[in-house]
Subunit: 124 residues, 2 copies
DNA sequence: AAACAAAATGCAAATAAATCTCAATTTTTC
DNA sequence: GAAAAATTGAGATTTATTTGCATTTTGTTT
């Protein structure tokens, strides 16, 4: 894989993030350092990095995808109040259980919870 | 809620379905009986029915939403071979567990597994 | 059942996210 | 440093869904 300035910046931007940014958020951030970069390049590189197993694409239901540098098994919770995305880890992964109850072969699963984060709960 | 011919047809079409159809699939089907119906009406009514708790909208990651008449707690598996969507039910719902490990208040969750259904496995 | 208000419809245009096309540029290879 | 390979930027395109609005349909009132 060829190394370009833009790929470097994109990778760094995710690695430094802890907000599960969208492609556009990353684009806006990187733009400050490299104003000529295009959104298409951001998308392209994010997809490359994801399919190379460097980062993870979080396919959010009916909202823009987000990207995560954390590659250990975990799932996500979207706070309906503040819009932030948080990580959580179930005591045991669901693959096996899903295979048992469905009789199908599970390659991966996507689990997104919606609710209210602890910060936002305090504010009520 | 006013009763119209189109709402009736839309509701019936889902209730009779067992393929977790998309809005467009329903549109194409209903069109045969009522050629003047518009896709916007289908979307509008599906959303109404869903927010009234009559049907359930399945927000699929990066593909068109699907609709389900089954209102009991269950999740979905998408077969990557045939594209069909299947139901499965975990031995216990995840809300509690997610709340425990995340410390947040869970309103709902969206769990979609991707894999290969038993029919398609036989064909390999 | 005529008249009025409220709700729903169809159509076209708008939106939003993501991908694609392709000429120009950059990076690697030889 | 020339040729080949990969990547980029910019804009057009695609797909799913929503919205605006004039028109029609439905429900309500008398």
């Amino acid at each position: 894989m060829i190394r370009t300035k833009q790929r470097e910046l994109i990778k760094n931007a995710i690695m430094e993030s802890n907000t599960h940014p969208t492609a556009d958020e990353l684009f806006q951030k990187i733009r400050i350092q490299l104003p000529t970069i295009s959104l298409a390049t951001v998308y392209r590189n994010l997809n490359m990095l994801a399919s190379d197993g460097i980062i993870r694409k979080i396919e959010m239901p009916d909202m823009p995808d987000r990207f995560d540098w954390r590659m250990t098994v975990h799932d996500h919770l979207y706070c309906e109040k503040c819009g932030k995305v948080f990580d959580f880890t179930l005591s045991n992964a669901l693959d096996k259980q899903i295979e048992e109850v469905s009789g199908m072969q599970v390659k991966q699963y996507n689990l997104i919870a919606k609710g209210i984060c602890s910060d936002c709960m305090k504010k009520l």
